[in-house]
Symmetry: C2
Subunit: 375 residues, 2 copies
Amino acid sequence: MIQRNATMADVARLAGVGKMTVSRVLTGSAGVSATTAERVYRAIKILHYQPNEVARSLRAVNSKTIGVIVPYLYDPFFATCAHAISTVAKQHGYSVILTTSDENPDIEQKQTSLMLRRQVDGLVIIPVSDNDRYYSGEAFSRVHVVTVDRPVRGSRFDSVLVPNRAGARIAVEHLLGHGHRSIAFLGLSRTLYTMKARYAGYREAMSGAGHSPQPYIECGSPEETAALLRSMLNSPEPPTALFAGNNLCMRYALHALSASGIHIPRQIAMAGFDDFEMADVLQPALTVVRQPIYQLGEVAANLLFQRILGSEGPKPGHRVILPVELVVRCSCGCEPRTHKSAKEEQPAPGITSGQGRPPLDSTRETLDPPFDSGR
Amino acid sequence: MIQRNATMADVARLAGVGKMTVSRVLTGSAGVSATTAERVYRAIKILHYQPNEVARSLRAVNSKTIGVIVPYLYDPFFATCAHAISTVAKQHGYSVILTTSDENPDIEQKQTSLMLRRQVDGLVIIPVSDNDRYYSGEAFSRVHVVTVDRPVRGSRFDSVLVPNRAGARIAVEHLLGHGHRSIAFLGLSRTLYTMKARYAGYREAMSGAGHSPQPYIECGSPEETAALLRSMLNSPEPPTALFAGNNLCMRYALHALSASGIHIPRQIAMAGFDDFEMADVLQPALTVVRQPIYQLGEVAANLLFQRILGSEGPKPGHRVILPVELVVRCSCGCEPRTHKSAKEEQPAPGITSGQGRPPLDSTRETLDPPFDSGR
DNA sequence: CTGTTAGCGCCTTCAA
DNA sequence: TTGAAGGCGCTAACAG
């Protein structure tokens, strides 16, 4: 732990050449005679020399590092995105500085600015809401940023999203097709972009079928969800189906329902947004809107590198919408059958509306869901 | 994108002071008069100056960065560890360079050495097997390394582990207590440290009860697992219980069993290693050995920072074993009941062996499972 | 083909 | 309390 690392000067001295020659051998630039190169290689080996990338970063214009910020890593959705981004970065020989924001705008700001000070060449962020002002600061005028899963309002950041509203809508329409008229929407914090958009989709589906949308149910914790569901089911007109805005809501609801001994789909039908590993081995297998999670991260990272590497690419603020698909399993009331893409989605038996719907992957989501987020 | 970032020299010039004064204001060291400090702050604000951490790292002895390598990020176990490490790092004002090895020794080596070149102050690794030789290289004599989940044979790295063998043993003993005599062990690649240790625990339990352990079943893919299980169940003496070495095996097995319409635990009982989110909402709820996943990462990171920050700490090669607990649910054949710690674990109804067992958290796992890993 | 000079942005050292 | 010089390890730009 005492002796310092070998530097290029050490190698140069041992090989009896100048530092530049060593540098050239390492970067493979310009011509170095085979014999001197050999001497340099030998010295490198003897000294176990490793180039100092920090010094390189300081000297060069880029650091060959990108920053990644996700809300949580223990959430498989975010972790899978992060994995994809990391994989693409590796392919480009880049390192990834990764951190979590815990959905906390302050942490996100602090971590972002730390990454900027560390001279990252670009950033992939799953941004917390309400940091819009921060991101329009001039600190961001010199980095490339791509956001995933959520856009940043009014920014020139590229983003990669899914059609949340349309996805929720077709899932709820599927539920409606089973004859349900009273369907409740379960969400997390309504400040989340995805929750707002999915709730909007739910409302569209309900209104479109001539039923009144029910108020947003915010599932803060398993206990809260259980209490909410209990009181809901004891109300005069209990819902006959539930739509879960994401997997956490789904899990809370499943817990509560299973504790109450309520049978799905006989007593209450269910569908949710976002597929997961065990969704098809649950009893009943869950009907869900599947998102291309890995691709979200992959496309975002590729877009970022396109910018970093300076190839033309689309104009700033580019939006990529990746298609989702409705995976029909049993919790909605269907008998087991195979997956079908949302694009090919046919009305379920008994569905009322027969008009066509736009393909999901071309759906441009507006930035602000068309409803008052205050309620 | 054209104009360069402000540097300390810019700030100094604008404030009409020397660079050192700016530096002192920033680091808060030594005395700077309030009035000059004020001038400096104003200049900083005007120029939107942000210190360049790369330059700092080059100048300083440390980079305030640690490296983290996990096999995969889409595996919730690894991702949760990573989250914990990242959280601890954040508390110390450190950044985390994270990457995945994909269980590939080559990738692991390349990424590790990249991190070393980036001058990380320490490393937390979930190491791939068979990289032992690499890690004894002299490159590692000057970094602090803590491994998680798996040790590195013959290294001076600290590691944070769980009692794999003992955990598997008590789970299998629990199955034995239900009267099962033919229990099969399902694992992933047998080159994995955890799989070897857990299989050893399985064998201990079987032999201890006077039954012969069955050969290691390697679940390469869902299809392979399904085929393996099918042929196993059609054999003259089919197993009446299964122990899954981790969640992936568990999932594969669950899929196969559910596809074959086999009822758990009536037709076959199950237990597994590692708890997961949905384990208690599955039908039946799964009996598993729960590992303190987040703590594994947390303890490892804390140990690393103890070393980095130079406080004394334990001697190199320190092993921390974190306790696991058997979470008894229904897939083993038990009726629903509450969790109990492995330490308090009582024999299940009908269990034959009554002698005490050592508390799990004090179990020192030997590095090499006491069986020939060649088969 | 090879070496010298200079400087990336910061902070330690020393002097004022 | 403040500043100037110098160097961390590397490489672009210019000699030779």
